[in-house]
């Protein structure tokens, strides 16, 4: 009997020293029945793309507070694309100014979540995206 589980990588790139937000999301996704791979603090875009590949994830959540999102996120998107994982659902959480959020979604990020986003929203978005991706 096939049993498919949604696999999500939760990544903290850059120099943030604080990962409470990432852990809250990881926990919420776990409670929604997903398998969450958590990589810990201070990951480079290369490390994140490598983990996404080895773990064959359906989605990558990037948590950034440091303000370096316009450098780090496009780099991660490029690496995923280069590895043949351009179809992975990428979402970003953190303090992202609205103008930047528009640019990121233009570059291929599926969703940008600011402070106060309900975890239910994130769970629903991932589930819907993965369901669509698995339809032929």
């Amino acid at each position: 009997m096939t049993e498919r589980k949604i696999r999500v990588l939760i990544a903290k790139p850059g120099l943030d020293g604080h990962d409470r937000g990432a852990k809250v999301i990881a926990r919420a996704l776990r409670d929604a029945g997903m398998e969450v791979i958590y990589t810990g603090l201070r990951q480079t875009p290369e490390m994140i793309a490598e983990a996404a590949l080895q773990e064959d994830v359906d989605a990558v959540g990037i948590s950034i507070l440091s303000g370096a999102h316009m450098v780090l996120v496009p780099r991660i998107l490029d690496l995923l694309q280069a590895n043949g994982q351009g179809n992975v659902h990428v979402f970003v959480g953190g303090i992202i100014p609205e103008g930047d959020a528009t640019k990121l979604t233009g570059a291929g990020v599926a969703a940008v979540y600011g402070p106060g986003t309900s975890t239910t929203q994130v769970v629903e978005d991932i589930s819907r995206a993965v369901l669509q991706e698995s339809q032929p």
């Binding site: 096939t2 498919r4 589980k5 996704l29 029945g33 398998e35 958590y38 590949l53 773990e55 994982q85």
Partner: protein, 333 residues
């Protein structure tokens, strides 16, 4: 989407994305995954399979990280060996979800093409591994990794499935694990080919070493083996490490290699291989039979048996016998 033959070719050709996809198919018990494993099986049997188990918080992930580093950067001119790591963490019994955090301790290993790390959730299995772990290990073996390190979920006294899967089993303990009576109980300590006491800078390490050595002496009556015996016993070494400071790691690698040599020289490698295949076969036969039985079982029979059970007219044992006897033994194909 790549076809089945392409997937097998790509995995054998060292394509990492294809390998990752195959692992997902195997983990999900998808028919494509099983078909690919059927073809890949002929390419397995080359890797040294090493299990790493022990209680939660004893430092398994940190030790695996250091072992992989040591295997990738050998001393005295030995060739570096490629290493695949399978890290199993528990699935929540309530939601079916899991947070897999073993990679947090393995960040030193990123960027090395000779390393492949895969996290797995236990998905309800209770022996310290997931049901699909054996298949995942086969796929990594076929992909050509020299060493496959399998880290179990934090294990207590009965999560001993790893000993059936691995050629060499490391049991990791931390100082202060309990009194001597813990050491003579059956279970996890019995499966150790190598005992590692990690966090050896913590207090109580000497008494832990003593207790484990005493246990080994009871379990391995070395004095009864005549000198020069053709089948020498393997006496599990008790080693001390501080994984966070990379201390004592080379000795563990040496013990792992010594154990592999011992298995090959005494013929125990083939014996382990045979019993491992037998165990795997039994699990698969059981699953096949159960699936057949379910398929052929009239749905009302199960409901009727449940009613009988609830009203205490028959016992569960009688009900099981009855349900199994309902069908003639159908050939599998």
């Amino acid at each position: 989407m790549t076809g089945k033959a392409d997937l097998v070719e790509s995995v054998l050709g060292g394509k990492r994305l294809a390998l990752a996809r195959l692992l997902t198919l195997v983990e999900n018990n998808a028919p494509e995954g099983q078909a690919a494993l059927d073809q890949l099986f002929a390419h397995t049997g080359r890797a040294h399979l090493i299990g790493v188990t022990g209680s939660p918080g004893s430092g398994k992930s940190s030790l695996v990280n250091q072992l992989a580093l040591a295997l990738r950067n050998p001393v005295d001119g030995q060739p570096a060996r490629s290493v695949a790591i399978v890290a199993v963490d528990p699935t929540s019994p309530f939601t079916g979800g899991a947070v897999l955090g073993d990679r947090v301790r393995m960040r030193d290993l990123s960027g090395d093409p000779g390393i492949f790390i895969r996290s797995m959730a236990s998905r309800g299995a209770l022996g310290g591994l997931a049901r699909a772990t054996a298949g995942i290990v086969q796929a990594l073996d076929a992909a050509g990794f020299d060493i496959v390190l399998v880290e179990t979920v934090g294990a207590g006294q009965s999560e001993v499935d790893i000993a059936r899967l691995a050629h060499t089993t490391l049991v990791i303990e931390a100082p202060g694990m309990g009194d001597d009576i813990q050491a003579i109980k059956a279970g996890i300590l019995e499966i150790a080919d190598i005992l590692v006491i990690n966090k050896a800078d913590h207090p109580g390490v000497d008494s832990t070493v003593r207790a484990l050595r005493a246990m080994l002496e009871l379990g391995h009556p070395t004095h009864q083996v005549p000198a020069g015996s053709p089948t020498p016993l393997w006496i599990p070494p008790v080693l001390q490490t501080i994984a966070t400071k990379a201390e004592g790691i080379r000795a563990v690698v040496e013990a792992i290699d010594a154990h592999a040599r011992h298995l090959r020289e005494t013929g125990a490698w083939q014996l382990r291989e045979r019993s491992r295949l037998l165990a795997e076969l039994e699990v698969l036969v059981q699953a096949e039979l159960t699936a057949h039985w379910r398929e052929a079982l009239p749905p009302e029979a199960l409901a009727a048996a449940l009613v009988e059970l609830e009203t205490r007219r028959i016992s569960p044992y009688q009900a099981a016998k009855h349900l199994v006897s309902l069908q003639p033994e159908a050939p599998i194909h």
